[in-house]
Symmetry: C2
Amino acid sequence: MKTTVPLLDKITHFIVKRKGKQIRPMFVFLSAKLAGEISESTYNAASLIELLHTATLVHDDVVDDAYERRGFFSLNALWKNKIAVLVGDFLLSRGLLLAVDNGEYRLLQLVSNAVREMSEGELLQIEKTRKLNIDESVYFEIIRQKTATLIAACCASGVASVTNDEELIQKAHQFGEKTGIAFQIKDDLFDYGEGENIGKPTGIDIKEKKTTLPLIYALNNASDSERKRIIRKVKNHKEDPKIIQEVVDYVLASGGIEYAHDVMMRYKDEALAVLNEFPESPARNSLRDLVEFTVNRKK
Amino acid sequence: MKTTVPLLDKITHFIVKRKGKQIRPMFVFLSAKLAGEISESTYNAASLIELLHTATLVHDDVVDDAYERRGFFSLNALWKNKIAVLVGDFLLSRGLLLAVDNGEYRLLQLVSNAVREMSEGELLQIEKTRKLNIDESVYFEIIRQKTATLIAACCASGVASVTNDEELIQKAHQFGEKTGIAFQIKDDLFDYGEGENIGKPTGIDIKEKKTTLPLIYALNNASDSERKRIIRKVKNHKEDPKIIQEVVDYVLASGGIEYAHDVMMRYKDEALAVLNEFPESPARNSLRDLVEFTVNRKK
């Protein structure tokens, strides 16, 4: 990652020190072991995807005007948007070069597709959010594109790093996609509180007028007048914690959180069913644990 | 370019309608004809590079907080930064997919390298600009990375689309790089006025404290006390047109504009010398005209 630009070296050092859970590289390595032995290609896949994911986070922070990331100031808070955009582009190109220079073409295909879907998914979310009308199928399409696609690419490229068997690669892709959807539903549930804190919302999505599964369910099961009343509250909450709490209480009372939890568990079960088509192995057990972690994690 | 996201389709339509000079695809096509017949690979190269260039412009506008692009509002002025970042990422991934899906791996190599150099160059410029100390060699490194690299990639990938002859590809790369440097010096000269308007500056670079070749030459040939005086003016101009005019007058009187013009012409001549190593052909003549255009254009 060394460059000729001291500022850039300082920033990449900053990023590496504050690395995240690195859950995506874990999916790459464990998926590779489902189908063979970890190879240099597996390392290439894991590196490209973590670089790409980091680039996306850096760009997301510009997108969201976020001033915190992984418990510390975000790049754009410290160095302004312009630098964050350029650093994101730099990280992405470093990842691409790694793949291109090593002739990892199947990997490139899997990953470029993921990048396209991710930007489409984010844009679809922005467009739909603005209108505040969103049905379940749109919600699933958004989370499939913006989150599940990359985890699917992790699993597929892990397997592709050790075998050319397209059927196995597709199976790993399916497993990753279902896991990714469960992962995102879990993320969306945090907005409504977690464990003993259920009903004590962080309310960030509601503040940003993002309609996620619990709210969608509640609205779909409301009477016309109730639906209008709740939509009005979401649209005009003006960050008033009382109004946000009212929306959360409504969602809780209508069973939206329970419903979203059930759907998440169904995706988890489907993911594990696909996983079980691979032969039993320590890697398969670890992947099962990783899936359980995604739906049980506390943050 | 059709997607499932109406907002995205609207934006790409908007971009296509306001297309620029498309000088980069011209370099691709003409370079291909230097070495053979235009093929489908040539179209792939031209499309990828124009998509990439457009993505870079969209991101640049975020980077520069620019509210105008190609005579019309920029994307970020109309749709906000967040959307501009995502659309840039989308355009880039569409270009990559085009290349990956068509197995254009040499093209991918040339282009990923260019993307890395371009983001490094922009970041280097931001870093150096901040310190306002910059010597000629840093200036040339910045413009080589941020501008010349992409034109070099155009010419190299044009040739690579019709032949595997690495020597020819490298020669085209060299030709493009020298042309690109001349192109950027010309751009930087506009800041000091052009033709009969010489000395009537647009002064945008000075306002942004970007030190380009004319000013660097003037500072390098000033006495210590004069240099300090001018640097103070550039640092503290507060957008006062009188102060900016003083800096421009100083650069003009010290021969900085003449000097930059001479250097530009030297790069142009070197570019044409490399070009002349290719056999005589209508494409070679057109490329010569294109190089002449880059140094003689009025905007």
